[in-house]
Symmetry: none
Subunit: 304 residues, 2 copies
DNA sequence: CCACGGATGAAACTTACTTTCATGAGGCGT
DNA sequence: ACGCCTCATGAAAGTAAGTTTCATCCGTGG
């Protein structure tokens, strides 16, 4: 026997709350009291137990269950979960993060964090979107087949260069990084056909890096530039150009997002090279991981 | 009777899932099975009853309850609701990009790029969400007022440490980084009250870093740990603990997302410290930018 | 080898949820 | 007005879910 109407809430795209308030007038008085509580504060309702909610609505648990059925739920637990989900979704939008711009003077730490994270994440995503897989492929090929790889970078880009060098080294590729221009120039002079030189410069105008890359190219090495500006000087001495997409305009922020964007590109190249020779790379990585094992404490689980 | 440590989840505004995956290694095997199910599909877990979930994780209800407590919940119902809310918030992945996991063997470069960027961006966002502004504030205060700041880190975290040191230095704070443990220990021994020591370790188990931080603490310095795992050994020697939220599970990927997450935290601290004394920081940044000006070519517009 | 401490599941127990059922308040035809 | 029906409602019984307790097991270190 068909008991109550039980409106199909199985599909209520507009939202459960909307759905409930829509059929509020069709509910019995006691159920309406429950409904009003629920609509007024879904998140709070989700936290309450059925007995609690019943008491708050000055009715019995049975009525609450009836209410659940009336709005199309199987039972109270299901309602609770739907309410929690609903409530979570509707507090989302207060997204007042400062986009792109500078950090406002009076910002508190929470704002600063939100702004930085947003810009950082954005730089990473946008960089990936505009990265040309074909160019990456060529670079990966070149590095994978290279006799030797030199990575150049100065200042903040130097860290990235160093990171790339270390990564390549870990998978068994012969790679170098030089914190010093003179040494770098010396090394570049010794490169030859089949070798690869990677120059990293956010602005693309770092003369030291350009100079070294030029030297490498003159010696017959394949040159790769990683920069944020596709028409900057460094691209003139590069066979392959990879670009990042950090919209860092102000110097004051220091190179923040750009580093992350560069690192993302480095990661892509690294994984690309590693994928090119899976077995070897894997073995190398495992060996290196094992090597530092003795410098770790509490191997398995951590603490008690 | 204080049973388990019960990390305060009262503050994990960013994400319960993130919080859980951070705690994962510190859980017992059976609890880890539960955690993995929950992290893999929060929405689904929220729908299950405790008995159901226990069965799925091949364990008992008791363990599921223990898991709830371990991650800071009162009990299963609360966890359920939080999960439902969490799941609702992350409606995003209409994408088939591989989340968290490894790069599939047959992947082409475009796929690799998409996957890496997604995970990197995610790590940055999630890290920011779970960062505790209050703790950051304390760290910023300490660093801003410190006589001297030592930054420690080994391996991949060493780059981050070095980056942080350089950033602090650029805004006129006296900061050091040591690639060598011995030197680091020596330096730590010379720290005192009012100085700050920052230890960076993704796993939180790097004995060298822990050792140095311990030394610094013994000398009266304020110690700060930056790690992905809130209950790892390094947190025991730190006055302030900052956590990242990279879900890097496999060693094979190398520390990719974790670096970016760490750098994001570093950026936040950096800006925080800089904001503390705007005028001075700005002047310092401009001075340093000017210093490298002569090493740039094509200053204004780029090319023709 | 034993003592110890932590991890674990079975079972007892408690609480929450669901069903059943009796009551009583209206509505309505006679 | 009376009886009869319908429906809303909560008390109480019943069932399922969640929680606690406790004995056992296993690995660790003395």
């Amino acid at each position: 026997m068909a008991k109550s109407p039980k409106i199909s809430a199985s599909h209520e795209p507009g939202g459960l709350i909307v759905h409930i308030s829509g059929l509020l007038p069709s509910l019995s008085p006691a159920e309406q009291r429950v409904a009003r509580l629920v609509v007024a504060d879904p998140a709070d309702a989700a936290r309450r137990t059925i007995t609690d909610l019943a008491t708050a609505a000055e009715t019995s648990e049975a009525t609450v269950i009836r209410f659940c059925r009336s709005v199309g739920m199987d039972g109270y637990p299901q309602l609770r979960i739907r309410l929690a989900a609903e409530a979570a979704r509707r507090i989302e939008p207060p997204d007042a993060r400062v986009v792109g711009g500078d950090i406002p003077p009076g910002a508190d730490l929470a704002q600063i964090i939100a702004t930085i994270a947003f810009n950082d994440a954005r730089a990473v995503e946008e960089t990936a979107e505009q990265l040309d897989p074909a160019v990456c492929e060529q670079v990966v090929e070149a590095i994978g087949a290279a006799g030797r790889i030199d990575v150049y970078g100065a200042g903040a880009s130097g860290f990235v260069a160093s990171d790339f060098q270390q990564k390549l080294h870990r998978i068994g590729r012969t790679a170098f990084y030089f914190p010093d221009v003179h040494t770098a120039l010396t090394s570049a002079a010794l490169l030859g056909r089949g070798d690869v030189a990677v120059g990293i410069s956010h602005t693309g105008t770092t003369s030291d890096v350009i100079e070294v890359l030029e030297q490498a190219r003159a010696r017959g090495a394949t040159t790769v530039a990683l920069t944020n500006f596709p028409r900057s000087p460094i691209t003139e001495v590069a066979d392959h150009v990879l670009t990042t997409a950090a919209r860092e305009t102000t110097y004051r922020s220091g190179a923040m997002a750009s580093r992350l964007a560069q690192l993302t590109v480095v990661d892509c190249l690294f994984v690309g090279v590693a994928a090119r020779n899976r077995a070897k790379a894997r073995k190398a990585l495992e060996a290196t991981a094992e090597a530092v094992q003795s410098h770790r404490v509490g191997a398995g689980r951590r603490r008690a």
